[in-house]
């Protein structure tokens, strides 16, 4: 029974991963081809559907409860604070550099989103250990 539940949970996580990843990939591919708005729309709808699916799976298999929400809240708050401060410093430096050179937006926003994602994952792991 327990193994079946684990299999179902893994299946739900796999579906979420595939839908989420494919949406982002399609979005990026269309953006590269020049269809920004179509890409954004597909990416948005895909990510939204994946999120809604995962939310229903969370309720069904009781993956999330008040402790996991508490961890998520703490990790999100920490990520926001760190990212906000880092972005402020980063933009100040870029503001100074922009007088001497042209800096493409992609090369700024891409690493910044990656930094946010890594910070969130690392912080979530930290708080999960702390509250377990």
């Amino acid at each position: 029974m327990e193994n079946e539940k684990k299999k179902e949970i893994k299946k739900a996580q796999a579906i979420f991963g595939v839908v989420f990843g494919t949406s982002l990939a399609v979005c990026a591919a269309l953006a590269v081809l020049g269809y920004y708005w179509i890409g954004l729309a597909i990416g948005f709808v895909g990510c939204l559907c994946a999120g809604m699916y995962m939310k229903s799976a969370e309720t069904k298999y009781r993956l999330g409860d008040e402790r996991s929400h508490h961890i998520d809240e703490k990790a999100s708050a920490f990520t926001f604070k760190v990212s906000f401060a880092a972005l402020g410093v980063f933009f100040a430096i870029l503001g100074g550099l922009s007088k001497f050179t042209v800096i493409p937006a992609y090369s700024v926003i891409g690493p910044f989103f990656a930094f946010m994602a890594i910070t969130y994952v690392a912080t979530t792991r930290h708080y999960t250990k702390k509250y377990s």
Binding site: R62, L63, D65, E66, R67, S68, H70, K130, Y131, S132
Partner: protein, 65 residues
């Protein structure tokens, strides 16, 4: 904050999984509460108290240290 959840659970002959099911949380949450690593919400504390038919302060005791 100390708690007597583990004792009360043992007295009721419940596993962590069964208790978790009864109060609508995960087994990991019950385990974290028992180890004193996570303080439950007031709602969950009331659910636990109601389930064991005791007062909240009989489950959760303020740590003097």
């Amino acid at each position: 904050m100390k708690n007597k959840l583990k004792v009360l659970r043992a007295m009721s002959d419940l596993t962590q999984e069964e208790l978790a099911d009864k109060v609508g949380v995960t087994r990991q949450t019950i385990n974290a509460i028992e180890q004193g690593k996570y303080l439950p919400s007031l709602e969950l504390a009331f659910k636990l108290a109601k389930l064991f038919n005791v007062k909240i302060e009989e489950i959760f005791v303020e740590d003097e240290n």
